[in-house]
């Protein structure tokens, strides 16, 4: 298992962001759904080793992220796209991706090829030498995805990766996700239910800091067969599962 989380709780002061979440994940694409404030980003930040849990245990890639050495090994194999990724305006796309390849300790000799491959995978090749300040929001998001995959991560954590992408780019991105999910654990936090239906093998639904559903997109869809609100079957399943959790 690449991710093993047991009874994870994370507080910020008196607020409980994540409350007793347990999950296991091997290779595949996992969609993390839930309303605003459900705890998705906190769970993702914990898996990204940016914050530590208040209680509970986390094991990533068979290592304990609480220890310095194992944490460093995890981070070498980790790809992370935060919800609010800042950019260095005067870096080019290639420089930006290269910077994070170096910080992930990709061996120097492999960096140029890894950078080129990551940029090509997000279809930014024609803008590789453009400064980030000259790019559109969707292009910046793709540059962010490129840095996340530059080290061919075994654990890829993406927080709202399709925000700002146009429909054509989103279709292309879903294909990339499916491809990455064949060998790595990809966790995608998103508000866009259709992204989950199209790209994810598993869905996890969070509400009020708790994991209230875990299953396949088909199983979530089935929950909305008789009731639930939404235009698409998966949306109805999503709203039905949320209503059930809150009742």
């Amino acid at each position: 298992m690449n991710v093993e989380i047991t009874d994870l709780t994370r507080r910020f002061g008196r607020a409980v962001a994540v409350a007793g979440v347990s999950l296991q994940a091997g290779p595949g694409v996992f969609g993390l759904l839930g309303p605003n404030g459900a705890g998705k980003t906190t769970l993702l930040r914990t898996m990204a080793t940016v914050i530590t849990p208040t209680s509970g245990t986390v094991r990533l890639l068979d290592r304990d992220p609480a220890q310095y050495g194992p944490r460093r090994e995890i981070r070498r194999r980790l790809g992370y796209l935060p919800q609010n990724l800042g950019y260095y305006p005067n870096f080019t796309v290639a420089e930006f991706v290269e910077y994070f390849a170096l910080l992930k300790e990709v061996p120097s000799a492999r960096v140029p090829r890894a950078v080129a491959a990551a940029i090509e995978r997000v279809e930014l090749g024609d803008r590789a030498r453009s400064k980030l300040k000259s790019l559109s929001g969707g292009m910046l998001r793709r540059a962010g995805i490129a840095q996340a995959i530059v080290n061919e991560p075994q654990l890829l954590l993406l927080d709202e990766p399709t925000a700002g992408l146009d429909p054509e780019q989103r279709v292309s991105f879903r294909s990339l996700l499916r491809d990455l999910g064949t060998s790595a654990t990809v966790v995608v936090s998103t508000h866009l239910v259709e992204d989950v239906g199209a790209a994810c093998t598993e869905v996890m639904l969070m509400a009020d800091g708790k994991l209230v559903f875990a299953g396949t997109p088909a199983e979530l869809t089935a929950k909305g067969t008789d009731h639930g609100v939404g235009d698409a079957p998966l949306e109805r399943g999503y709203s039905a599962a949320l209503a059930e959790a809150r009742s």
């Binding site: 994370r10 849990p53 290639a94 080129a116």
Partner: protein, 235 residues
């Protein structure tokens, strides 16, 4: 003969792979001399890249610092007032406040998930900035006997002011506030010394102040260490 306008790759050539190889060569950034030297010294190309990207180690900032020290050296030489000694802590504190942190690094959240730890980046940047400012200060001091005589007198308060600016910048997540705190506290210290003894140089010439300076540096250093720990869950 085949039409030259209809060239195609042999079947066993993977054009995608070939293009990645070409793109890798074309897009690759050649590290400069300083970055290569830093990579060798630090044994980490990532740390070296982070070091040469330090905002307050970029050429415009270094030039501005050199100009300040240069003017200070001229004034010190002409008037025998120890301007370099009084400037050095403020200039170093300002630079160090802008070394690293959420207020200065747009991708700080991402940086905290990297194998090269953010604390190591901070440490290397701070040490480099301190060294650069110390060298600039020493070079400026060498131009005048007055300044040279108290060269180590300003290094101790420079350590304290740098640590204070860094601590405030780290705690408030704002390099501007850190810089303002360092410069203001140092200015008040100098003015306080002048009010007490009638000499501006009291703040750098009084040996009995070294211990309080070092205590401030130690406390601020501890504050930075605590604040830059991984964000802990509150029980």
């Amino acid at each position: 003969m085949s039409d030259p306008n209809e060239l195609s790759a042999p079947g066993d050539v993977d054009l995608g792979r070939a293009w990645i190889g070409v793109a890798a060569q074309v897009w690759h950034r050649r590290p400069g001399l300083v970055e290569r030297a830093a990579a060798g010294l630090l044994r980490s190309p990532g740390l070296a890249r982070a070091l040469v990207s330090t905002p307050s180690l970029l050429v415009p900032w270094l030039l501005a610092s050199a100009v300040v020290f240069g003017v200070g050296a001229i004034v010190t030489h002409d008037t025998s007032a120890p301007v370099v000694a009084l400037l050095a802590p403020a200039v170093a504190g300002a630079g160090i406040a802008y070394a690293y942190g959420p207020g200065i690094d747009p991708a700080f959240e991402l940086s905290r998930s990297m194998a090269v730890s953010d604390r190591m980046v901070l440490l290397v940047r701070v040490l480099a900035l301190f060294a650069v400012n110390a060298l600039l200060g020493l070079a400026a001091s060498a131009l005048s006997a007055t300044a040279a005589g108290i060269a180590f007198g300003w290094m101790v308060p420079m350590t304290a002011v740098s640590a204070l600016a860094l601590a405030v910048a780290t705690l408030t997540r704002s390099p501007g506030v850190g810089m303002a705190a360092g410069v203001t506290v140092w200015g008040l210290t100098v003015l306080g010394g002048q009010a007490y003894s009638g000499h501006f140089a009291t703040a750098v010439r009084t040996h009995s102040l070294y211990l309080p300076y070092l205590a401030v540096a130690a406390i601020c250093g501890a504050a930075v260490i605590i604040r830059t720990r991984m964000e802990r869950g509150t029980a």
